[in-house]
């Protein structure tokens, strides 16, 4: 290897030597060939029942991860050493960026994010194959073949369309353009990788599902292996979505956290179907029902991760943080999605006779039925969000087609590109969300198979009373929004069902053996982790809904204040105490001092700011400041400022209960961690 690799460390490279870019592209080429070979070995090995070929394919999977890690470390090295001969490095970094942001710039742009995808995919593939190769030897060659085919597609994109190592052929710049300032935020270090982790890990359940269909082993074995993976994906998708919300809340300065942006919706779509799968897989485990449905959900979840990637990277949707328009990439993704649909659904239809249910639904008053309705609702949510997100794109396509084929489509008025905003989404998602919250409460009250009519009253009485009391108190406090009241009432109802389940479970356990309350509670949760871990997740959901209910009572106002002036919003007085300008080596900053008073007492002094990065002076960022309490947030962002006169345009918001969303997310995460740890208790004692 030539010393040119060290060029960024020690001056310019000698002409004609091996550079980072060349080595990186060669690695990607090798990875492409290796993935093709691995897929081929897996398929032929399974067909010939050849242990040698299968072992070769397994080792090929591990080697793919090694090469992906090498390519990734090369691009990180290029970022850290400021190798601006590589276009991607020049476009997304500059010398002044802090070390952390230089590393995270790896996935800050389109090309790098695809390489990051390949890195995670090969890592998860290797881990999944290593963990299951002895337990499910019969599935492994097919799993390896499917995973390697997916790797092949993404590496092919890197190789032929979006090479992150492509160089400037002429006029190599000496400076980088810098990462978008909006992305230089703590949450953006964690948010994209977390979403990617969720997205990419869904390929593993898909590969196992396809292997089950290919081999005809559609019993519970495959889904026992993947349930944990789906839970893992679900956790990271949730984590990524919430961090995305926090980023929007703290960085964009419009006082909200979710605006149904297409890119965020892309993360939400597989979350809906993965959540549906986590519920319906329980029915298959217990009753042998819904085998085809579960496979369908796994296929759709994986497909939606590809749809999400397509939406984010092809430019078909307009978003605040899409990567830009690229028709070649759009067509390539379109072809891959079509292949997935044809192959997956073809296999599913071929194996339908093997997927017939062993059991049948005995009563609508059963938990199975509640789960079934829950599944329908999640699927409706996914389809609605997908349709509404893509609708503007469909209208645009219709316009293009009408222009290209006026004789065929000229009779209709193509109109303009339709814009679907948050109110449309909220109008339909609000009732769907409340219906899901209601089911979250009802489900645990019902028994598997059949709930006795006599016990229904006993189960539902207390939660209904609590729900009614909460609604009554909220109304008494002067809250008027019917949606808000319904949400608060359902939160009360669902919260009490969870409390009741824990209380009765502890009481039953104490009746069976002499234990203290705490000991019985801990042993109950540990003994049936999935059941009680699930209830803890539900508790988190209730808290999050509580936070969303607060949205109905939000106060907002745009004001112009000079230093010394005040404005009253709700129970608070907002006082402008002055402005000051500062700068550092990366940006100029204007910061305001805003006092928050309640009952004439200063509660906090907030410091909203505007930052102008030297690299991108046309894109100033809004730095939000907020006074947080359990009951509400006082949120201030600075929109415009005039340093000579002191006039400052501020956006003021009072967001009731909003912090319960983040607290609820923490509870959800804790619950899902309880659920994950079920390996040692998968016997019949589980869930009782």
């Amino acid at each position: 290897m030539s010393l040119a690799l060290l060029a960024p460390l020690a001056g310019a490279p000698p002409a004609g030597s091996l550079s980072i870019a060349t080595l990186g592209t060669a690695t990607i080429l090798l990875l492409f060939i290796l993935s093709l070979g691995t897929a081929g070995l897996g398929i032929i090995g399974a067909q010939r029942r050849s242990e040698r070929l299968i072992e070769g394919a397994v080792q090929g999977t591990y080697a793919s991860f090694g090469l992906a890690a090498f390519a990734s470390s090369l691009i990180i090295y290029a970022f850290l050493s400021g190798d601006y001969s590589i276009q991607y490095v020049q476009h997304t970094s500059d010398a002044a960026m802090p070390l952390f942001y230089k590393i995270t710039a790896f996935w800050g742009g389109l090309d790098g994010s695809l390489l990051f995808w390949v890195l995670l995919h090969t890592l998860f593939g290797s881990l999944a194959v290593r963990a299951n190769r002895m337990r499910h030897r019969e599935l492994i060659p097919h799993v390896v073949a499917v995973l390697a085919t997916i790797t092949c597609f993404f590496v092919g994109l890197l190789l032929f369309i979006k090479d992150p190592f492509s160089q400037f052929l002429l006029d190599i710049p000496s400076q980088g353009r810098g990462l978008n300032p909006l992305l230089q935020n703590f949450y953006m270090i964690i948010h994209p990788p977390s979403l990617y982790l969720g997205y990419v890990s869904l390929a593993v359940p898909y590969a196992f599902g396809m292997a089950a269909l290919l081999t005809g082993q559609v019993d519970a074995a495959w889904q026992r292996s993947v349930r944990r993976w789906v839970l893992f994906s679900w956790m990271f998708l949730t984590f990524g979505l919430i961090l995305g919300g926090l980023w929007a809340y703290e960085e964009l300065g419009w006082g909200g956290y979710w605006a149904w942006d297409p890119v965020e919706n892309a993360g939400l779509l597989p979350w809906f179907t993965a959540t549906a799968f986590l519920h319906s897989v329980m029915i298959q485990e217990r009753r042998g029902m819904m085998k085809a449905w579960n496979l369908l959900l796994i296929i759709v979840s994986f497909l939606l991760t590809i749809v999400g990637t397509f939406m984010t990277r092809s430019g078909v949707v307009q978003s605040v943080h899409a990567f830009g328009s690229d028709p070649v990439l759009a067509w390539t993704f379109g072809g891959f999605m079509l292949l997935i649909v044809v192959v997956s659904f073809g296999l599913l239809i071929w194996r339908l006779p093997l997927l017939r249910s062993r059991g049948e639904l005995e009563s609508v008053m059963s938990r199975e039925f509640a789960f079934l309705v829950n599944n329908w609702l999640f699927l409706v949510c996914a389809l609605f969000v997908l349709g509404a997100t893509m609708w503007p794109t469909f209208t645009e396509w219709r316009m293009i087609l009408a222009e290209d084929y006026p004789t065929l489509l000229g009779w209709q008025n193509p109109g303009e590109r339709v814009v679907i905003g948050p109110p449309f989404f909220n109008q339909y998602m609000r009732p769907l969300g409340l219906a899901l919250l209601l089911l979250t409460g009802i489900g645990p009250l019902l028994a598997w198979r059949k709930t006795s009519t006599q016990s229904l009253v006993r189960q539902f009485a207390a939660p209904l009373v609590v729900g009614a009391i909460v609604t009554g108190i909220s109304r008494g406090l002067g809250l008027e929004s019917p949606w808000g009241l319904a949400c608060l009432g359902l939160c009360g109802f669902t919260f009490w069902t969870i409390v009741q389940e824990f209380y009765r479970g502890v009481a039953l356990r104490r009746k069976q053996r002499p234990q203290g309350v705490l000991e019985a509670l801990i042993s109950l949760v540990l003994r049936a982790r999935r059941r009680y871990g699930g209830y803890i997740v539900h508790l988190g959901v209730v808290l999050m809904f509580l936070g969303w209910a607060g949205n109905a009572y939000k106060l907002e106002k745009k004001v112009q204040l000079k230093p010394g002036e005040s404005y009253t919003l709700g129970a608070y007085v907002i006082r402008h105490d002055g402005l000051h300008a500062t700068e550092d080596w990366q940006k100029e900053m204007i910061t305001a001092d805003i006092a928050v008073l309640r009952n004439d007492e200063v509660k906090d002094v907030l410091h909203p700011a505007r930052w102008w990065y030297y690299q991108l002076p046309d894109q100033p960022t809004t730095e939000v400041s907020r006074y947080m309490t359990a009951g509400e947030d006082v949120y201030v962002s600075m929109q415009e400022v005039d340093m000579t006169s002191g006039w400052t345009q501020l956006s003021l918001y009072i967001n009731p209960l909003i912090n319960w969303i983040w607290i609820g997310f923490g509870v959800m995460l804790a619950g899902s961690l309880v659920c994950v740890g079920t390996r040692k208790s998968e016997g019949i004692g589980e869930d009782v």
């Binding site: 070995l41 040698r52 072992e55 470390s73 090295y77 190769r133 093997l354």
Partner: protein
């Protein structure tokens, strides 16, 4: 280069997962050690020979060399695996040949279902009548599945014939006048309790290995994790203790029979 070797995994069988996992772990540790060693050597070379400063890019280049060593190690393992002599792999291709696995799933589902029903009943979600009706149905189905599992074992036909002959001979020798062991009738509202046999048969032996347990009450063979005997319903823990004592006394007989 790094001593990677795929043969232990390649040659391992499903019956020896312990050895395979130990070898795999050793191989991973060796490869990780080699990768870290390479990173350290590159770091030292960069700093001492090429005069690079010990800062982020230098560390990143060392990490890249570790990744390269890992990748080359795995590529070597792949080539080595492909150069090994071939064996027939355990790959499921024919649909419909996995009824045993499905039956085991069904059995586990039914036993869990019974336990859950009892828990839901304890939580007050089911009335006594519903509980008794549903649970009796599931107990019957569980017994059916367990019987199907017992009869549908995938033994070699010759071995199955030999075992059947031996079992018949054992029954004839131990209980000449006894009727064949039958499943007790299940009453709809009754727990799965069956009157235990008064004394364990003197020659209560069967295919006794690590995956089965012998009921001390009736001598029937049960799964290793069984709590109650599927033939007579006696609790296995208690029954097993009796069986162990009986087996210790008859060790010569079991050895002779095998």
């Amino acid at each position: 280069m790094n001593g990677t070797n795929s043969t232990p995994d390649t040659n391992s069988t499903p019956g020896t997962p312990g050895t395979a996992s130990t070898d795999t772990r050793r191989r991973i540790l060796l490869l990780a050690g080699a990768a870290l060693g390479a990173a350290l050597i590159v770091l030292v070379l960069l700093v001492t020979v090429f005069g690079a400063r010990l800062e982020a890019p230098t560390v990143a280049l060392s990490a890249a060399s570790a990744a390269l060593v890992y990748a080359l190690g795995q590529l070597y393992a792949m080539v080595r695996a492909l150069s090994q002599p071939d064996r027939v792999a355990q790959v499921g291709q024919a649909a419909g040949s996995f009824t045993q696995a499905e039956l085991r799933d069904e059995k586990r589902r039914l036993l869990r279902a019974i336990k859950e029903l009892e828990f839901d009943f304890g939580m007050g979600k089911l009335s006594q009548v519903d509980h008794d009706t549903v649970i009796a149905t599931y107990r019957l189905r569980a017994i059916e599945v367990m019987r199907a599992l017992e009869g549908g074992s995938s033994l070699h036909p010759e071995l199955a014939r030999l075992l059947a002959e031996r079992e018949a001979a054992r029954l004839a020798a131990s209980q000449p006048a006894a009727a064949p062991v039958d499943m007790p009738a299940i009453k709809p509202a009754a727990k799965l309790e069956v009157t235990p046999m008064p004394e364990p048969g003197p020659a209560a032996s069967g295919p006794f290995d690590q995956t089965t347990r012998i009921c001390g009450s009736c001598g029937g063979t049960n799964d290793a994790d069984a709590r109650y005997c599927k033939l007579c319903g006696a609790a296995m823990k208690k029954a097993e203790a009796t069986a162990r004592a009986a087996q210790a006394a008859r060790s010569g007989e079991i050895g002779g029979a095998s």
